[in-house]
């Protein structure tokens, strides 16, 4: 089985920066693996996620996701690769404020025909898939109708974001501090729901957080500072 993510000899530097932000000689994540990456701010976390999402490309080295060399693709190809294969959950403000819950969840299907097709394959049509995922996230259907997403609690918003990351079953899920704004109960329930889906679909999950308490729930844990040789020299932002 191939690895979901393989990074080798990656150097990334901002155009204005003097020293690299990211210098990762070797990093890989197995398919279906649940990886916990811990790192304080300034350890290159943001850049790593942008690399995995294909928004940024390294100055040198190889970034391989699901067997595709992202660094070899054009930016448009990377954009559609991300739409097709990567689900992203942010720390906060995950939702487009002027769209409804269901429309927010449906967004990836709008930009990726592949994910729309997969959602249709599992649930008949993308809207049903969105509703099923929202219910699985414990959001009752009376929340769906006519409610503005900004009325939701942070915990509820994060679950909508999780449903959006999961729709159309992308192979790789990337989460950036998804629980840091949540209280303990909400944190636990979000992670449970996430793990449950990942287990069912066989997806690879990479979760970045500085909250070491989460560590035990994952298959593997890496410290970004160990991975990223550049981080040692970095002054925190």
């Amino acid at each position: 089985m191939t690895n979901a993510v393989e990074i080798s000899n990656v150097i990334f530097q901002w155009p204005t920066g003097k020293t690299p932000v990211l210098d990762i000689p070797e990093f890989s994540v197995g398919t279906g693996e649940r990886l916990f990456v811990s790192g304080s701010s300034g350890s290159g976390k943001t850049t790593l996620l942008n690399l995995l999402g294909g928004v940024a490309v390294p100055d040198s080295g190889a970034v391989s996701v699901l067997g595709t060399r992202l660094d070899k693709l054009s930016s448009a190809q990377r954009d559609s690769f991300r739409a097709d294969h990567v689900g992203v959950i942010f720390q906060l403000f995950n939702l487009v404020p002027y769209l409804s819950l269901v429309e927010n969840v449906l967004l990836p299907c709008r930009f990726s025909a592949r994910r729309a097709a997969q959602a249709t394959a599992t649930d008949g049509d993308p809207v049903s898939a969105a509703r099923r995922l929202l219910s699985r996230m414990g959001l009752s259907s009376d929340l769906f109708a006519g409610r503005s997403v900004t009325d939701l609690s942070v915990g509820q918003q994060q679950r909508v974001a999780a449903a959006r990351a999961l729709i159309g079953a992308p192979e790789l899920l990337v989460a950036d501090e998804p629980t840091s704004a949540l209280d303990e109960d909400a944190r636990q329930s979000l992670l449970d729901l996430l793990f449950e889906s990942v287990a069912a679909e066989g997806q690879t999950l990479i979760l970045v957080s500085h909250d070491r308490r989460l560590e035990a729930m994952f298959d593997r844990h890496v410290v970004l500072a160990d991975l990223n040789h550049a981080a040692i020299r970095q002054v925190p932002e």
Binding site: T46, V55, S75, V88, F90, V96, Y98, P108, D176
Partner: protein, 420 residues
């Protein structure tokens, strides 16, 4: 693309309060732009329509524009008169088909009184080929008959048979009036959209009759000739203010014009009304162009307002853009999202502006017509209107490039993770 159109639409609706302000600014500016254009065209048309079919206008020697103003537009006063003898002599030129004598100087409650003869009703043309017609009554027949323009009758509520007292002079309220010799309304003319509507027409004899016991602009003390006795007197005028000339052949125009301008017995001026109208219009053209320029700048201001609104919202929308990028939106999508928002605002503003124009025209049309004698037709949008609307929308889209471009730059810098 369908997705982006839907996103742009939803995004605008969610900010409808600020968006509507931008739309309103553009709508008002578009109304101004189209309104100025419309009034310009209508004024020009109505202007060119005030006199037609007349080859020459003749008056005492002054400038061509003053002559045109007092003889055709009933604005201002003549500096001198033409003697009846000269008029008869020139009118009998073999090249001349007809003449209309004009005698001005009196008024009725602010409306000018024109002394003329019945040739006026026969030969006067406006709006290319239209001749005067009566809505009520008939031409003047008696010395003390008066024919009212449509506006005079409307404004003062006269109908046939009513009495009209002519004031001496042309002030709004004359110092002296000819109340000893009242006129009777014999007819009312149909609306023409020209100064005719604001004119009281009487016979030359009528003008002579009311001044028969006057000398140098005042009644002669002790001399009172009542209306009945006047009828029996010789009412041939000694002078007229101006006259209009129709020629048998247009080719004779310049020959006759030269002949009149070189007329020895008294200094006269003959003008081609079309040329004088052009001259007058080009004088007003400067103001007209200034108005157009102002309205274009108002549209630009409206568009700047829109760009300001879109730009000021950008920072708050960085997360939204990051989300869209994360779910697979390309920079081109972000660019089109902002461009479409600008296009929607501009297009909605343009359409509402057109609607507002029609609303205002509907309300203002009767007022403009009665106040300025300018009839503004309310028809389908002209091709000029559509070109202007198109230009506003295109300008809106072009203006939208600024925030769209900035949005893409921000979004590329942010990636999918926006630092909080």
């Amino acid at each position: 693309m369908k997705t982006v159109v839907a996103l742009a639409f939803r995004s605008l609706i969610s900010r409808s309060a600020t968006v509507m302000l931008s739309v309103a600014a553009i709508a008002v500016s578009v109304t101004l732009l189209l309104g100025v254009e419309r009034i310009r065209t209508e004024t020009r048309n109505s202007f060119a329509n005030t006199i037609s079919g007349t080859d020459l206008v003749v008056g005492a020697r002054s400038g061509s524009i003053p002559l045109l103003l007092y003889s055709v537009f009933r604005i201002g006063n003549a500096t001198n008169n033409i003697s009846w003898q000269s008029y008869r002599e020139l009118a009998s030129d073999p090249a001349v088909a007809w003449t209309i004598p004009l005698s001005l100087g009196d008024s009725h409650r602010g409306f000018r009184v024109l002394g003329t003869n019945t040739d006026y009703f026969q030969y006067f043309r406006y709006a290319r080929t239209r001749s005067l017609s009566f809505t009520e009554g008939k031409r003047f027949d008696d010395v003390f008959d008066a024919v009212l323009g449509a506006e005079v009758a409307d404004a003062l509520g006269y109908s046939v048979g009513d009495q009209v007292v002519i004031d001496h002079g042309v002030g709004r309220i004359g110092f002296a009036s000819h109340k000893d010799k009242p006129f009777r309304v014999s007819g009312i003319l149909a609306r023409t959209g020209t100064p005719v509507d604001r004119t009281v027409h009487v016979s030359l004899g009528g003008i002579e009759a009311i001044h028969i016991d006057w000398r140098s602009g005042a009644p002669v003390p002790g001399l009172r000739i009542d209306a009945e006795r006047v009828r029996g007197m010789d009412l041939q005028p000694r002078a007229i203010t101006a006259f209009m000339v129709g020629l048998k052949s247009r080719f004779a125009t310049f020959t006759v014009q030269r002949k009149i301008n070189e007329y020895r017995p008294e200094p006269l001026l003959a003008i081609l009304p079309g040329v004088a109208l052009q001259e007058l219009w080009s004088l007003m053209g400067t103001a007209e162009r200034a108005l157009s320029a102002i309205s274009v700048f108002v549209v630009v201001t409206g568009l700047i307002g829109m760009v300001t609104m879109l730009l000021s919202g950008l920072n708050e929308r960085r997360r939204e853009m990051a989300i869209l990028r994360a779910v697979g939106a390309r920079p081109a999508h972000i660019f089109s999202l902002f461009l479409l928002e600008a296009a929607f605002i501009a297009a909605l503003g343009a359409v509402l502006g057109l609607g507002l124009l029609y609303l205002l025209l509907g309300v203002a049309q009767p007022v403009i017509e009665s106040t300025y004698g300018l009839f503004i037709a309310i028809g389908a949008p002209t091709s000029t209107d559509l070109i202007y609307l198109g230009a506003v929308i295109v300008a809106g889209v072009l203006a939208g490039i600024v925030p769209a471009f900035r949005a893409v730059r921000l979004s590329l810098a942010d990636g999918i993770i926006v630092r909080s």
